[in-house]
Amino acid sequence: MSYLEYKIQTVPTGARKILHANWALILLLAAVCSVGFLMLTSVAGGDPSRWAEPQMKRFALGLVVMMILGMVPIWFWRSISGLAYLGSLGLLLLVELFGTVGMGAQRWIDLGFMRLQPSELMKIALVMVLAAYYDWLPLAKVSKPQWVIPPVLLMLVPTALVLKQPDLGTAILLVAGGAIVMFCAGVSWWYFIAVAASGGALIYGVFASRGTDWQLLKDYQFRRIDTFLDPSTDPLGAGYHITQSKIALGSGGWTGKGFMQGTQSRLNFLPEKHTDFIFTTLAEEFGFVGGFSLLCLYGLIIFFCIVSAMGNRDRFGALLTLGVAATLFLFFAVNMSMVMGLAPVVGVPLPLVSYGGSAMLVLLAAFGLVQSAHIHRPRSR
């Protein structure tokens, strides 16, 4: 059922839309962001003005943006998704050519009040364009190879640009996010199995080549992998951060050391404690209880998104909702795996909690689209 077939009368209009917003989702998002404010205050040594207050302002702004975007009918978003994609791609190219390098390798555009990372925008734009693509594509063609190639290209072009920055974390998120949308759209299992198998084979090949004449990676790249697999081999070098992160997390125990009592973060043993490693501080100060609670909050957001998507007969809206939920999931899954030593340190922030303007704004905007899909979902009589 496409939006042209909607019985417009069944969709709420005007101010009544607010009543039909997904309030559970809004409350959960606010809860997660509040955890962020708390932790940002803690890592600043109790000084909220350093990180927490700017973050709150952005959250307020993000909330307004989310509601405004949610009020806009979903069919508008569908119609501009192609444009959004092309615009994001253009910005990505722009920063590739003229961008400023800062904070490792990320590139951004200075908007005056904040710095916008086009790669953040692209995460959402890609989900939008893929959702629109599969909304348009008849189901019968979904798994046909010639119809699988266009979305793959849509995915790979921005991924290549992001990889060139180089920003491995965002690249992984783009590919995985796109793949999840494709999976939900119904693309055959076999494609995924084939990609997974060839990926596995590639990794095996890389490792098998080590020490031979046709070695596929440089020695130092292998050493980085070694350090990831066993940080204790280099406790003061590259493995230092991950080792300290694990110590902080583990030493939190059941209930943690208490607010602002985390020795690892307060004494600077933790790296990047206000951005990528903020979960470690949470787990150190509030223990398993705190960490698990945050995980549950994220889980509930995902749950409400999936419920909303399943109840939505609009294919674009449902795919978009699932895609945004998948993006959020990928953010925190990669970040938590990273700080727990399950994944290499690739520089992915904890969504809505880590300090950082564009990531939060873009995510809240994406949830604005989810709200729009929810409010404007077709209703049967």
Binding site: F183, G186, G291, M340
Partner: protein
């Protein structure tokens, strides 16, 4: 864009199925994360907690203050003085070189110190304080403190360092401390973590090292929290140190100072002992050195000067120096023979100037001979032949047995470095050490304290104290530890009949007071303070025939190293013995001229408790003694402070 409703239904169904798979996978992965979290935070939490504590907590030792050493009247001999230092912190100083240059305009700094400090500064973290110079004068520190606003990152600091206010007087007894060295660490099986502190001071010689265990005290500790950079954030807990035990020695600082000054121009040693308690009141070894030089780190120039000095200032002559006791040994020979019954007190032996034994002639020091000699005469005039005869009749083993009862040939247990046992030879000793049979001629040499007999001034002083008291008194150097008196050991009676002991004492009285006594010139005339003594002269080497041919007969014509050692032992007052003394003047010539006068003077000081009045001296000597006292650089006696305060 119309689609058949069937396809819509199909698409929605497919998406629902895929959505469920997706949601399930996400929940599954989140479960994995939760499990991992649980494993780290619950199962392995203890390990991680330990690692976190190790990260943040450092234990720093607080060095204890070393025990203070006092003399018997509570005058500090070794104490802890404030050690003024200049400390620099790199991150506060900014330009380190410029800061040090500014300090150098105010204070004289050693080039090597500055170089070492600069190296250290750049090796360590920027917030670690580095000592630029220490052992500075208070004025220098004041200068730096006044200019502190112009010297960012530079702070005057104060620590504790050992100080010996009485300087050279106690160098041989108390010794000195120095920074713990690698050699010390390898030698000592001492697990005390204090030794790991750079420049921690430990005893190197003397009482300082022998009673290190008492003096050092126990370290305190500070548990501090550090951040990732190693910066100290705060103190978590503090366990204060236990200071070392204070020691009180039996030495009288005034007497010690007098004895050192009296012997200052000689290479000599002298020991004064209380005949009843065994308390050592003075143990002078001259020349001496300033132990404070060693605390600061002695220059190799100064050290070599000390080592190459022929008077051996580093050598403690009182316990480490062994000398043939010569005639001072004759009381023992006489008493042994009397106790053994081989000679009677009144029996007279004829001295023709020599005695022949086994085809060898054993000369008396008096070539012409003394004529008929009884025990008293023999001691008073120090006739060798009488004692040759007595010992020959008795045999060396019985003589050695009695000698040991008087404390010779055995090590007195004192907390001083290199206390030696000396040698009292007998047949068993010779069989063991030389693997030879005893030669009867050796008994004659032994009888006059020559041959293999070796004793230290300490042993001779103990011997004299035992002669005076009739009891086997033991020397005591430590009077009290932390105010708790060290008990005086029981001194059993020596198994020699009192009548015989009295004879020996009478004979010694005659030595210093009798008309023909060898030490008559060094008598005490103050009533009730008369001294009883015995001179000794031990040959370093015989005058050779060639020298005799060149006309060398007298000792003072020989080079210094080959002159005889002069010895003197004495106790006083004669009728109620209180103190005994033994003095050796290396290469000083005869005992009566070299060793008896200073012994008398030192004993008089001990008896009066201060510089003795001229009335105690024979009339004709008073003028000379007066000049002598004026020329001696004596320190006035010190008074103990009311409260012994810890520096």
């Amino acid at each position: 864009m119309k689609r058949p409703p069937k396809e819509n239904e199909e698409a929605a169904g497919l998406m629902t199925r895929r959505g469920v798979v997706l949601g399930g996978s996400m929940v599954g992965f989140m479960g994995l994360l939760a499990l991992r979290m649980r494993q780290m935070q619950v199962t392995e939490a203890e390990d991680y907690r330990l690692l976190a504590e190790e990260n943040r907590i450092n234990v720093r030792l607080i060095p204890p203050s070393r025990g203070i050493i006092y003399d018997r009247f509570g005058i500090p001999i070794a104490q802890n003085a404030q050690n003024y230092r200049i400390v620099i912190v790199r991150e506060e100083a900014g330009n380190v070189e410029a800061a040090i240059a500014k300090v150098r305009q105010l204070v004289d700094l050693d080039d090597s110190d500055v170089e070492r400090a600069l190296k250290e500064i750049y090796r360590r973290s920027p917030f670690v304080p580095i000592t630029v110079a220490d052992q500075l004068a208070w004025e220098d520190i004041a200068e730096v403190a006044i200019n502190a606003p112009a010297l960012p990152g530079i702070t005057p600091d104060v620590g504790l360092s050992r100080e010996y206010p009485l300087g050279a007087d106690f160098a041989h007894i108390v010794g000195y401390v120095g920074p713990v060295s690698d050699y010390d660490l390898s030698k000592l099986e001492d697990p005390d973590p204090l030794l790991q502190i750079p420049k921690f001071q430990i005893g190197k010689i003397g009482v300082e090292t022998k009673l290190e265990g008492d003096l050092r005290g126990r370290a305190g500790s500070r548990r501090i929290e550090v951040n990732a950079g190693g910066r100290v954030m705060r103190e978590l807990s503090r366990d204060d140190y236990t200071p070392g035990n204070d020691l009180q020695l039996t030495i009288d600082h005034g007497l010690q100072n007098y004895a050192q000054a009296r012997l200052a121009n000689e290479s000599a040693g002298s020991v004064v002992i209380d005949v009843e308690t065994g308390d050592l009141l003075a143990m002078a070894s001259a020349p001496s050195f300033d132990p404070n030089m060693f605390v600061r780190g002695i220059s190799s120039k100064n050290y070599n000067a000390l080592r190459e000095n022929k008077y051996k200032p580093l050598f403690n002559k009182t316990v480490q120096g062994l000398y043939p006791p010569g005639s001072t040994f004759k009381m023992l020979t006489g008493l042994a023979a009397l106790r053994g019954g081989v000679i009677s007190p009144e029996e007279r032996v004829y001295c023709p100037g020599h005695m022949s034994l086994g085809g060898r002639r054993f000369h008396c020091w008096k070539r012409g001979g003394h004529g008929w000699m009884n025990f008293d005469d023999a001691i008073t005039q120090s006739c060798d032949v009488y004692f040759y005869e007595a010992a020959h009749r008795l045999g060396v083993d019985k003589l050695a047995e009695l000698s040991r009862e008087f404390g010779l040939g055995q090590r007195h247990d004192l907390p001083m470095s290199a206390v030696r046992a000396g040698i009292i030879p007998d047949t068993k000793w010779k069989a063991q050490v030389r693997g030879e049979r005893w030669n009867p001629g050796e008994t004659l040499n032994t009888s006059i304290g020559q041959g293999d007999v070796l004793a230290s001034p300490l042993q001779l002083a103990v011997m004299t104290a035992r002669l005076a008291s009739g009891r086997a008194v033991k020397p005591r150097l430590v009077k009290s530890v932390n105010g708790i008196e060290v008990p005086i050991e029981d001194a059993p009676r020596i198994d020699v009949p009192t009548s015989l002991m009295n004879m020996a004492r009478k004979a010694m009285f005659n030595v210093s007071n009798g008309r023909r006594g060898t030490a008559r010139r060094s008598r005490i005339v103050a009533e009730g303070m008369e001294m009883a003594g015995k001179t000794g002269t031990s040959q370093v080497r015989n005058i050779t025939k060639a020298e005799r041919a060149r006309g060398v007969f007298r000792n003072d014509q020989l080079p210094w190293e080959r002159r005889d050692h002069g010895l003197f032992v004495a106790f006083a007052p004669y009728d109620k013995p209180k103190y005994a003394i033994a003095t050796i003047v290396e290469h000083g010539g005869g005992g009566s001229s070299a060793a008896a006068p200073p012994s008398r003077d030192i004993l008089l000081y001990a008896l009066y408790g201060d510089v003795p009045p001229l009335e105690a001296y024979p009339k004709e000597q008073r003028e000379r003694i007066k000049v002598q006292h004026e020329e001696m650089e004596l320190r006035p006696r010190l008074k103990p402070e009311k409260k012994a305060s810890r520096a």
